[in-house]
Symmetry: C2
Subunit: 150 residues, 2 copies
């Protein structure tokens, strides 16, 4: 997803385009790897020194809610990372070592993983979590426009 597409989507949902918001989006699309909030904050401060960390978080979460990026925690309660959605690849699978915390990102999708990938990584699997995000029936009606927000 390009910077322009993201800005268009924000506008379409009825949110405003602020200089801080632009700078945050720019930091995200130009990052080499999914940054943590502080990376984005540091980057944005180069241009706007008074931007608050809260503003960064608010915008990262907004972008996640409208489906422009995915937010994920590699290990339980480590810092969150924020990755702009390229193509339409909503899946995000990780193979995480409980010993050292190292995470391997898996490019393949769910079902393939079970058959191929897991066998070949040499990991000893002790558990997994699979969570699905969406809108429940009663929220679905209110979701089309900005009402999807909390």
């Amino acid at each position: 997803m390009t910077e322009t597409e993201i800005i268009e989507k924000i506008r379409a949902k009825g949110f405003k385009i602020t200089p801080q918001r632009r700078a945050i989006i720019n930091a995200l699309v130009t990052a080499d790897k999914p940054p943590v909030a502080k990376d984005v904050h540091r980057e944005v401060r180069n241009k706007y020194p008074s931007v608050s960390l809260d503003t960064v978080y608010r915008n990262l979460n907004l972008l996640a809610e409208i489906g422009c990026l995915v937010k994920y925690n590699l290990k339980n309660s480590e810092k969150s990372r924020f990755e702009i959605l390229k193509h339409h690849h909503h899946y995000h699978h990780h193979l995480i070592c409980l010993g050292c915390g190292e995470a391997v990102c898996l490019e393949k999708c769910l079902l393939d993983m079970h058959t191929d990938v897991l066998k070949n990584k040499g990991y000893k699997i002790v558990g997994h979590a699979f969570e699905i995000y969406g809108y429940c029936p009663s929220c679905c009606n209110a979701v089309e426009n900005k009402d999807g927000k909390k």
Copy 2:
């Protein structure tokens, strides 16, 4: 898993049995639903009023590391819940509403979900995360005893 089995496992891994630890385990196995850390803390303080929250967290994380319970966050960065492993059901699947935050625990396993469950819940799915926990090849060697710890 019973209280006795858990204590045996702790001993087998070379960790010590303290009164606080016993009380924490007891609070976990007698809870009706997976508690958050504060629930456990409140419960344990009835017996040992000076137990610190840190001690509760340290023990909950230890129990997760040795595979006696699962720790999970329903929505991104909500509080963690801690569930004693009954049977050998390592799977933990949730259907989470991005609108209201309500979570439905799914009893069925991964593959079934795709075919049956998702269709019938009336949720509009916008994404999911699937994370696998285990030990990487280089950690596997050091895992048999307490070296599996950080």
